[in-house]
């Protein structure tokens, strides 16, 4: 099908399946692998678009379902789309439902049904019945004008024991992709990505991958994950899917954002990730750092006058002498939960951390040094203690030729 992007594969790791690439989208190029922050309703947790830009972000998420409710399709049409709504000159990717609303919908499925028509459910806001069809999801995304739009899929929790239902959902997602492709009015300016389903069943995932690849969408997502499944099962699904995917298309694993998940998934051959966690967790005073998560609401930090992360180049952590703000852990502690500015500052740091982690991974892949990067990452994260490295990480990386315990 028509594509509004260019994918330039720059390097492949000689040991793992990691790739470095440039993805050239209608609103500019983005480097892969990439983490995409989630601005569900058209803003990222109090950050101005300018501040988001400053973290290095050139591609962020909006949510079709939420923008469809507010400001609504008419408003989006009148304003000329979501870029104009939020004055964001860079790229947007719209998920139809993100992890959050996906699980809302999953839990609401008890009250509503998925039919061949679409998903019928009750509005989580006011209980009115709503029907979301593949055609309407595309129409909304055409109004939004996102650079990457996602198909409507039938999502089943990976933890569901009902294999028949999982298979039904997989086939339905394929049929819905066909309806989405037919409904897509702007293939020359917006890229539609398919979403591979099939739960944790590798055979279903294989079938689905083949079917999806045959439809030749500009990019390919692996969906239905990060819903509480075991990490080793997650890794097997990603590894299986990427093994069947063509080299020349971007691969997006939906809903993934913990740093260790990112670096392992990159080793398994995935390129793009999104997650609300790094930004949502800022509100609770959590700082993402190379040494793990620091909860700056802990009184232990009240007199810690070091930066959020030593050596971090985000605007908060950079010292005044280098044009930064010189924000300390103690000051975040002072603001935490009392002034929203504290959360805004931490959000900037966390997004910057995620983006720079992917930037460093990319550089390592280009230098063909990704295994060393992985070892360094886990050594810092677990403070040189190999016994703390989770089994799923050891196994997943061994599967792509890296013995992470040998550092």
């Amino acid at each position: 099908m028509h594509s509004a992007l260019q994918f330039e594969l720059l390097a492949k790791c000689s040991v793992t399946k990691a790739r470095a690439a440039n993805l050239i989208l209608p609103h500019g190029p983005v480097p892969l692998p990439i983490f995409m922050p989630v601005a569900t309703q058209g803003s990222l947790k109090g950050l101005t678009p300018e501040q988001l830009e400053e973290t290095g972000c050139r591609l962020c998420l909006n949510n079709t379902y939420h923008l469809g409710l507010k400001p609504g399709q008419e408003t989006l049409d009148a304003l000329g789309g979501a870029h104009k709504l939020q004055s964001w000159p860079h790229n947007l990717l719209t998920v139809v439902t993100n992890a959050e609303s996906r699980f809302q919908m999953v839990s609401l499925l008890k009250l509503a049904q998925v039919t061949e028509d679409g998903v019928r459910f009750l509005s989580p806001h006011d209980g009115t019945p709503m029907l979301l069809t593949p055609e309407h999801s595309i129409s909304l995304q055409n109004s939004i004008g996102s650079d990457i739009m996602m198909q409507l899929d039938d999502v089943i929790a990976t933890t569901s024991p009902d294999l028949a239902r999982i298979e039904e959902a997989m086939w339905r997602s394929i049929r819905w992709l066909d309806r989405c492709i037919t409904a897509h009015k702007k293939p020359e300016s917006q890229n539609l990505f398919c979403i591979i389903q099939g739960g944790l069943d590798l055979e279903l995932r294989r079938i689905c991958t083949e079917e999806m690849v045959a439809r030749d969408t500009p990019g390919i997502a692996i969906g239905g994950l990060s819903g509480g499944e075991a990490k080793d099962a997650y890794c097997r699904v990603v590894d299986t899917c990427t093994g069947l995917l063509p080299d020349n298309k971007p691969r997006y694993v939906m809903g993934v954002g913990y740093p260790e998940d990112l670096v392992v998934s990159v080793a398994l051959g995935a390129d793009m990730f999104d997650c609300v966690w790094p930004t949502r967790t800022a509100r609770f005073g959590n700082a993402v750092t190379s040494a793990g998560i620091l909860n700056l609401r802990n009184a232990a930090y009240s007199e810690d006058f070091s930066s959020i992360e030593e050596g971090c180049t985000c605007i908060c952590c950079k010292p005044l002498s280098e044009g930064g703000l010189g924000i300390t852990r103690a000051y975040i502690y002072h603001l935490a939960a009392k002034e929203t500015v504290g959360a805004h500052l931490l959000t900037m740091h966390n997004v910057h951390y995620q983006l720079s982690l992917m930037g460093r991974a990319r550089q390592a892949i280009m230098d063909d040094a990704y295994p060393a990067f992985l070892k360094d990452f886990f050594r810092r994260l677990y403070d040189n203690d190999t016994s703390r490295v989770p089994t799923w990480v050891v196994d997943a990386l061994r599967g792509v030729g890296v013995n992470i315990l040998a550092w």
Binding site: Q41, G42, S43, L44, K45, G46, L47, T48, P49, E50, Q51, E54, Y65, H66, G68, L69, K70, P71, G72, Q73, T75, A78, L79, K84, L85, Q86, S87, S123, H125, D126, T128, M130, L131, L132, H136, L140, S302, E303, F305, I315, L320, L325, G326, I327, T328, A330, Y331, Y333, H334, L335, A337, K338, E339, T340, V341, A343, H344, L345, M348
Partner: protein, 507 residues
């Protein structure tokens, strides 16, 4: 004005010069507050109020990039939750700034911004406990407490080292009419605390300038205290480090005291700490001779989703009078007054508007965004809404003060007026023009802020205490009405979802 008392002491880094309007008579005046290390403030000037060291909703990078705030007011009660059990972390902050100020480093305040430290927030929450002879009753984010005067004084130098330190004042907040006995106590304590402060400064040093309180009492009732501020000077008794210099400025809790101030105090810069709830109250203080003022209505408007749109001088053109030529009904004229701002919650007015928040405004919000986006953010409960409105509201207020200074500087009448004494005609003309514009402003604009139908953001930590609610962290829900007093009516502090009004659309 440079130090009138003369003796050999390293010159204060803070100096105040009156450019127009006179020191000898009351009334509006144009001045220049200069500091060796900070921004120069042309006065009258706006001082931004902070909460826990930040202007609400404004991160430090946005502050630098997108505001023109030149001075901030910081309350120590925002920083001393665990005192005296534990030393407040802000005292311990290592600092490399020069002059060294832990306050500046801790709150990441830019080097150029003038800092003003006071013990209490601008509209202090009255404590159930009274002040004592050696401490102030304060309200921290975790509850009521006491701040000892000795602690406040010793924290000022060498650690906090603000540019301006507001001297502690014994004001019984929540009791607007203290008894005679209480008044005597107020004066005694405030005078002795000031002496303590001046002595400590003489002993320990410190680069801060002391602003002495002018209490919220009639001037006659505090005459001996005000005279005592002068005694020290005439005594010339500070050679031994025991005496005290004239304060560098005055912190005035009720601007109506200004016209009756003793003559030798009139050349001092005046920081007006009466909370202004509307621009016309600001104009009132300025008319009496306030040099620096705060405007708590700014954040209240922002929290209510109201973009301020007033200007000074008020726009010319289709004035209320000319519009109502045909029907010269005074009620009609009343109805045609212009709003001070616009509630961005209003979907019919703003949902599709790509106009800036205020026509012609060059602030970041107006330059890059439009009303439709801010409306959407409010309706969606997104925190960025308040940031964008706050950036604009700060710009609106800066513009207002620029306008005030323009009029006082004789703008449109051939440039800045020379502050030549004896030129009563010139002074009179400026004052007359200011009063004229002030009257036109009041004619043109409504008195009260527009009503907002929205939901305000999460309350500040201390807000719950003042509203007598156990839940200070919830979102107010429903129809908050913002009146002249800046209080919210109608909205409780429930744990609503932050959804605005307006029906949901079907997908």
């Amino acid at each position: 004005m440079s130090d009138p008392s003369g003796p050999e002491r390293s010159p204060d880094p803070l100096r105040f010069t009156i450019l127009a309007g006179s020191a000898s008579t009351s009334g509006p005046r144009l001045g220049l507050l200069t500091h060796d290390a900070r921004n120069t403030l042309e006065t009258p000037h706006y001082i931004a109020d902070t909460s826990r060291g930040v202007i609400p909703h404004i991160t430090q990078d946005t502050f630098r990039r997108h505001t023109d705030v030149k001075g901030v007011y910081v309350a120590l009660e925002d920083f001393v939750e665990k005192a005296p059990l534990k030393t407040p972390p802000i005292y311990l902050q290592p600092t490399t700034t020069s002059p060294s100020s832990t306050l500046r480093t801790f709150t990441a305040l830019p080097d150029t911004t003038l800092s003003i430290l006071a013990p209490r927030r601008l509209s202090p929450i009255p404590s159930p406990n009274p002040n004592s002879s050696s401490s102030l009753a304060i309200c921290t984010s975790v509850g009521f407490s006491a701040l000892s005067i000795a602690t406040y004084i010793s924290a000022a130098a060498p650690s906090l080292n603000p540019d301006i330190l507001v001297a502690p004042a014994d004001i019984p907040h929540g009791n607007p009419a203290p008894s005679l006995k209480r008044r005597v106590k107020m004066l005694d304590r405030t005078a002795s605390w000031l002496t303590d402060l001046q002595r400590a400064k003489g002993r320990v040093g410190g680069d801060y300038a002391v602003f002495a309180a002018v209490l919220p009492l009639p001037v006659e009732a505090q005459r001996w205290y005000l005279d005592s501020l002068l005694d020290a000077v005439t005594d010339d008794g500070h050679g031994d480090g025991e005496g005290h210099a004239l304060p560098a400025g005055l912190a005035i809790y009720d601007p109506s005291a200004i016209p009756a101030l003793p003559q030798p105090l009139t050349h001092l810069p005046r920081l007006c700490l009466a909370p202004a709830h509307s621009p016309s109250q600001l104009l009132h203080s300025i008319a009496l001779g306030a040099d620096l003022t705060l405007a708590p209505f700014l954040s209240t408007a922002t929290d209510a989703g109201i973009a301020l749109t007033f200007t000074f001088p008020a726009p010319r053109g289709a004035s209320p009078e000319s519009k109502s030529d045909s029907e010269s009904d005074s009620q009609q004229q009343q109805a045609e007054k212009h709003p001070l701002g616009t509630s961005l919650w209003n979907p019919t007015a703003h949902a599709l508007s790509t106009a800036p928040l205020q026509a012609g405004c060059a602030c970041y919000t107006c330059a890059r965004h439009h009303r439709a986006y801010v409306h959407h953010l409010l309706a969606a409960g997104e925190m960025l809404a308040w940031t964008l409105v706050q950036v604009h509201n700060l710009a609106c207020l800066e513009g207002f003060f620029r306008g005030v200074r323009g009029v006082l500087g004789g703008e449109g009448e051939g440039g800045i007026v020379d502050g030549g004494e004896g030129e009563g005609g010139m002074e009179g003309r400026v004052k007359g023009r200011f009063e004229e514009e002030r009257a036109r402003f009041e004619d043109w604009y409504e008195v009260e802020m527009p009503v907002s139908e929205g939901v305000r953001p999460r309350g500040r930590g201390y807000m719950g205490l003042g509203l007598g609610s156990a839940d200070g962290g919830g979102r107010g829900r429903g129809k908050g009405k913002l009146n002249g007093g800046g209080k919210w009516k109608g909205g409780g502090l429930g744990m609503g979802m932050g959804m605005g009004k307006g029906g949901m659309r079907r997908l």
